[in-house]
């Protein structure tokens, strides 16, 4: 299993346990997110939808804006894409939180939307006391 896949499984497990324990919402892996009015169809690595918004989760897609999007870096050029076009796009959709996970640099960067732009933070609003530790390579 690649470093990236290990990070994906690890994070998906942690987020799912946290959301279940706190009954805060649903964590989904690699699900199509379609937002018609914004002309966007993307498949983030992980998404989280708050319980109050669970109506946007449909049979094989999410039709609306999730509360958290997590993307995992595949290689350096992919890192540029995640921190460039994708980050701008998620800000434009008004996704409240965006995390980028870099299994090569062993980092999890968390961004919170503030007046239309992402600001990096150490404190997630959605998973406030979750300590994310990536698996060693």
């Amino acid at each position: 299993m690649s470093q990236r896949d290990l990070a994906f499984v690890h994070l998906l497990t942690d987020l799912t346990h946290y959301a279940r324990e706190n009954q805060s919402g649903t964590v989904l892996p690699r699900t199509l997110v379609y937002i018609e009015e914004k002309a966007v169809a993307v498949i983030p690595d992980i998404v989280f939808v708050k319980r109050a918004k669970s109506g946007i989760i449909q049979k094989n897609r999410i039709c609306g804006v999730p509360d958290l999007v997590v993307e995992i870096v595949l290689n350096p050029s992919h890192r540029d894409k995640l921190l460039g076009k994708k980050k701008d796009t998620y800000a434009r959709f008004e996704v409240p939180e965006y995390w980028t996970v870099d299994p090569f640099e062993q980092t999890v960067r968390k961004y919170v939307l503030n007046e239309g732009a992402y600001q990096e933070t150490d404190n997630s609003r959605l998973f406030p006391d979750l300590m994310v530790q990536l698996p060693d390579s």
């Binding site: 690699r30 002309a39 966007v40 169809a41 993307v42 498949i43 595949l74 050029s77 894409k81 076009k85 994708k86 796009t89």
Partner: protein, 77 residues
Amino acid sequence: MEMIPKAGPQKIPFQVFENSIPNEGKWEWIDGELLFSDEEMRKVILMLVSQIGLKKWIDILPHESRDELERLLRDKS
């Protein structure tokens, strides 16, 4: 290793397949554009056209596109 499309269909070696899958196989769409880099787009198109062959690719094209293609090729030569 890269595919060179020929008139007829060709088999795709695994190495080419593995290196030509764009964006981890995820087809994403933003503002009417596929979220592939130019390089990813080039590789996947070369692989797909090599697989079916140029002849079939031309057959697939609508008449209007074929006329356009002919014109472009004429202009280029």
